[in-house]
């Protein structure tokens, strides 16, 4: 059974995690009066709330996605604040640009809502900061012991080897618009690839915003070439949201190599299901070793699991004599677009 005092600080509700002391939600999936938001992915950051407290970058991303008036009141965090009796501070989560964990302190307890997080270096954001707490709230997107994501540099090397092996076939890499797309571009640049990279229109604004925020992406060109131009491309890399592969936009390319950058690509059946020829295992979530070692490192007296594969993580908790509770929060997607 859960200690009753944690319930005084945080309660799972259909809208999301609710803090009764401060009367606010963290990453609510439905419109609420007061929301604290960890990061800008669409399933965590929705429009229509009364007031939003988030990092400046997350607020900017929400404005790009939903327009400037996505919430009535928009407040950027700048150091610890008091929200109606709860001491609130934001800490880097290492997931995407602007992503944070949210630390809540009230009634002598500390809870950390980590949102989505990663322990792998990502030049777009500060590394995950382990924050001591009594209650740690974690995702479990990749919480099966088969998820051990390789070094992303090796995956990029795979892509570049393929470009060399098939120079006449444009390489179209599916990547989510916020975070993954820019990550793939940065990894390519780190690997020394300095040719222009073509980006689908749906990625343009968020990529421009990364550049404004000091994340260099090199020479990006819009992937709006016509059929004749598309057929003249050599050694070309095109980044697009995966949804574009189902659209006629794809038809301009002759015999492309379809790739997809995602942690799910570790499982062959998932890659096949998506019709992918070049799966690239690049994730911005913790894999199983990072997830379990993070919990050990933070060593909370209890941890809760918001979404994902909670059955395996509950089994791990049992084997490691850790108190854990699955929240079964609905509305966080496996693969936000």
């Amino acid at each position: 059974m859960t200690k009753p005092e944690f319930q005084d600080l945080l309660i799972p509700r259909p809208e999301g995690l609710y803090c009764p002391v401060g009367d606010f939600y963290v990453d609510p999936v439905r419109p609420v009066a007061k929301a604290l938001i960890t990061h800008g992915h669409a399933d965590h950051a929705r429009s229509g709330h009364g007031a939003v407290l988030a990092s400046q970058q997350t607020l900017d991303i929400m404005a790009i996605r939903y327009g400037e008036d996505f919430a009535k009141i928009r407040q950027a965090v700048d150091g610890p604040v008091d929200v109606d009796g709860v001491r609130v501070s934001f800490h880097p989560a290492g997931h995407v640009l602007g992503s944070c964990q949210i630390r809540l302190e009230a009634k002598g307890m500390v809870a950390v809502v980590s949102g989505d997080y990663s322990r792998v270096a990502n030049p777009a954001c500060a590394p995950f900061e382990p924050v001591p707490c009594d209650l740690f709230i974690t995702e479990a997107t990749f919480a099966l012991p088969v998820f051990k994501h390789p070094d992303p540099a090796d995956e990029i090397a795979k892509l570049l080897a393929s470009v060399r092996a098939f120079p006449e076939r444009p390489h179209l890499i599916g990547a989510y618009a916020l975070g993954k797309a820019q990550r793939v571009i940065m990894l390519l640049r780190e690997a020394g690839y300095d040719a222009p990279i073509y980006v689908h229109g749906a990625l343009q604004r968020l990529s421009d915003y990364h550049i404004e925020q000091g994340v260099p992406l090199g020479d990006l060109r819009p992937a709006t070439m016509d059929k004749a131009e598309a057929r003249d491309l050599r050694e070309a890399i095109v980044i697009s949201p995966p949804s574009a592969f189902a659209s006629p936009w794809l038809q301009r390319f002759a015999d492309p190599v379809i790739g997809f950058a995602s942690g799910w690509m570790q499982i062959r059946a998932r890659a096949r299901q998506r019709g992918v020829e070049l799966p690239l295992i690049i994730s911005d979530h913790v894999d199983w070793p990072d997830l379990t070692s993070t919990i050990q490192e933070i060593d909370p007296s209890e941890f809760w699991i918001t979404h994902g594969r909670d059955d395996a993580l509950m089994r791990w908790a049992e084997l490691n004599q850790r108190r854990a509770r699955p929240l079964h929060l609905v509305g966080y997607e496996e693969e936000p677009e």
Binding site: L144, V146, K148, S247, L250, D255, I258, R268, G275
Partner: protein, 519 residues
Amino acid sequence: MKAYAALLERLAFTPGRNAKLELLQNYLTSAPDPDRGYALASLTGELDFAGAKPALLRALVSERVDGELFTMSYHYVGDLAETIALIWPGQGAARDVPLSEVVERLNTASKTETPAMIADWLDALDPSERLALLKLMTGGMRVGVSARLALTALANTGTVPLDEIMELWAGFKPPYEPLFAWIAGGPKPEPTIKAPFRPVMLSTPNDYDGLSTLDPADFAAEWKWDGIRVQAAAHGDERRLYSRTGEDISAAFPDIVDRMDFSGVLDGELIVRREDEVAPFGDLQKRLNRKTASKALSFSHPAALRLYDILIWEGEDLRELPFHERRTRLEAAVTTLDPLRFDASPLLNFDTWDALAAHRADPPAAVIEGVMLKRLDSAYVAGRPRGPWFKWKRDPMIVDAVLLYAQRGHGKRSGFYSDFTFGVWDDDRLVPVGKAYSGFTDEELKRLDKFVRQHTVERFGPVRSLSPDLVVEVAFEGLNRSKRHKSGVAMRFPRISRIRWDKPANEADHLATLEAMLP
């Protein structure tokens, strides 16, 4: 192991034949001996390890991973080898394990040594290499590469024609170092087998109009039997049955090989025959793609050769002789063979193309696919020359079916919905009966793609389910009973022969129509 694992991984996801060839060629030219030879052997199905069975692998992993976590993972991943490769503790890559070390030690290790040896490898390798190792040990690479394709890639790396390689192929043993040396420009190895494969002669398609320009008196005609084309070669104590591409399939047909007590090379159709009755292709399928055949199977599905031609007999090469002379020699040779296993394919009497058309329209058995025409003066030459031999296939079977699902294509068809699943009516439900991805023009493909986008009901990854609104005429070459298909039937080579934009879906055919077409 690294390069081999990377090759297998890439092949597994690459649908295009040309891209597969390119990947194989890159590997075969860059990997060292003897690794590349063992890799080639793994792809051509020439490796077999007795000691490394799935039960052993499960036992090894259960010593290292919690059983419940393993079960959850296995359910999610869906493949035992892949689950073990990923869940095995550690990230490996401690040292590179050459493929040759794996193959050679698996071949020589004792039963008691094997588990620890495999565990050591799994510790040392990274997940992708582990998967390659596990697939190698348990067989079934499932990367969509036939032996023929692998050898085509090998031929492409040098200047030796594939036909020449196939002649000697059965005589080479992994890791094939003399073969690689030959292809790289070295001397042609001496044949190490006494009954090598000889390149097969193939026909080109023709029809009534095309044949009408030719003189029927120049041709012999025979039935085109629906089995698989094979070559039976025997010399001394060596007997081999080859597929028409030169793969040695002797082990699966002991009933034939036991009766190959001749010296020579014969060309014919492999069929299942009970007394005089040739069984449907489905019966033969039960005997294909097996490493061996049990006595029971040889008894219930007895194989036979229906002979078309004779290449070599008792040391004499007959390939230069005209067809009619070879035919006489063939008929004489057949009299010396076991009639239960060997007979000559009968010739058809005809003096006009109309007379032949009448034969073709009324074959004496359902397992006849049409007629073959051979110029009486034709020598037996390798390959598919146009002119001496023609096949005039029977008209395809046809049904009107409804499009149910569409899948995005690959390569030049990327972005187009080009792979279609279609169904026929069973009472008031549509049951899927097959898949087709050819038969339409580029213009029709564009229109089909548009139809798919406008009639999508649901999306599943690259697949869309469609509202049942479009009827297509599907042509196919044959129909078998199939337990694997929900409808109970499986088509051979189905393609879309016409798109019936005009026809309402409720006028499509019923399953009963298909069932009536079963042999």
